[in-house]
């Protein structure tokens, strides 16, 4: 049993949509280290809510499926307005792709560092874990994102990120879908927020490959990007 004291002032947001098979283990791993976990159930139609019963989390239920960007914004709004003790927020995918140790590293950076946002990057050391085709597509989307936002990141679309609470106040997400990540980067540029990237691991299981973003979703991200850019 882990005797380490749980981190209380860094909140975790887990957006979840139809994650009945993995949500329990994802939350169990996070609960070992983090006291405050906010799961935003984005209108799941499976047993995700049932799987969360008994967990020490705050559950926010969207009445309908709005998209991951909308779920993250809900988490932000809830923590900003109702969790006075929070000093930072980490976004963590529900599908079990992220490593809790990376979340801990981001939390440490938020507590001891001065940057407003910590971006996790799959391409700073663990790129071999990303399948070749996905890696190529992600790099292409990344290049376009960097071009449109003028912010240089190695991985613009990684769900694992850390935000200082003061930075969240500057961010207002209007994109409900996957391109919310680019919207964040655009707002980083607009509001002159400081940031850094740290290497994070990614665990692609058969489940996460099946459940995660399809490659063609990149096209939807590009559409959203153009909408943001206009």
């Amino acid at each position: 049993m882990n005797k380490r004291k749980k981190i209380e002032n860094i909140y975790i947001i887990v957006p979840a949509y139809n994650e009945e098979f993995v949500i329990r283990s994802t939350i169990k791993n996070l609960e070992k280290y983090f006291e405050n976990i906010v799961v935003v159930n984005d209108g799941s139609t499976d047993k995700t809510i049932k799987e969360l019963k008994g967990s020490n989390i705050t559950l926010i239920n969207h009445p309908l499926n709005l998209g991951v960007g909308a779920a993250i914004q809900t988490g932000f709004q809830f923590i900003l307005t109702h969790c006075k003790d929070a000093i930072g927020i980490i976004t963590f995918d529900a599908d079990g792709q992220h490593d809790v140790n990376d979340a801990l590293q981001i939390a440490e950076n938020l507590i001891t560092g001065s940057e407003d946002i910590i971006f996790g990057s799959r391409f700073l050391g663990h790129q071999e874990n990303v399948p070749f085709i996905k890696r190529t597509a992600l790099r292409a989307v990344n290049k376009i994102t960097n071009f449109l936002t003028s912010v240089n990141l190695t991985d613009a679309h990684n769900g694992l990120k850390g935000f200082r609470k003061s930075a969240i106040k500057e961010i207002n997400l209007e994109i409900n879908g996957y391109a919310y990540e680019t919207e964040i980067i655009m707002q980083v540029k607009k509001n002159k927020l400081s940031y850094k990237e740290i290497p994070t691991n990614i665990i692609y299981t058969d489940y996460s490959k099946k459940k995660g973003q399809k490659l063609l979703n990149g096209l939807i991200i590009l559409e959203d990007l153009l909408r943001l850019w206009r």
């Binding site: 926010i60 969207h62 009445p63 809830f78 209007e174």
Partner: protein
Amino acid sequence: MVYKIFFLTIFIFLFLYSLIRPFPNIYSRLFLFFGSIAGIISLLGSKYANFIASYIGVENGSYLYLYIGLVTIFMFIFYSMNKHTNLENSLAKLSREISILKTLQEKESKKK
């Protein structure tokens, strides 16, 4: 001839309607106003449409109507998509408020 009178009546009705109906914005009024005029002109005879077409520099009346039709379709798609996005954002905000309120209520009732 009966059809011509029937459609002419409809376009004249739409023209008059565009003058008196309260619209949320000027563009909707202008859309119905000019649309009904174009409809009336098309029914009165091709010479009027051809005259307007040659005046603006389009080959003939049919092309003029084709171009106006295409521009109208694209404008309508653009307007609808914009409205759809705005509605989606409003829906997201509403859902967010409701879900946060519900969570807070549940937390309160657990405390009690």
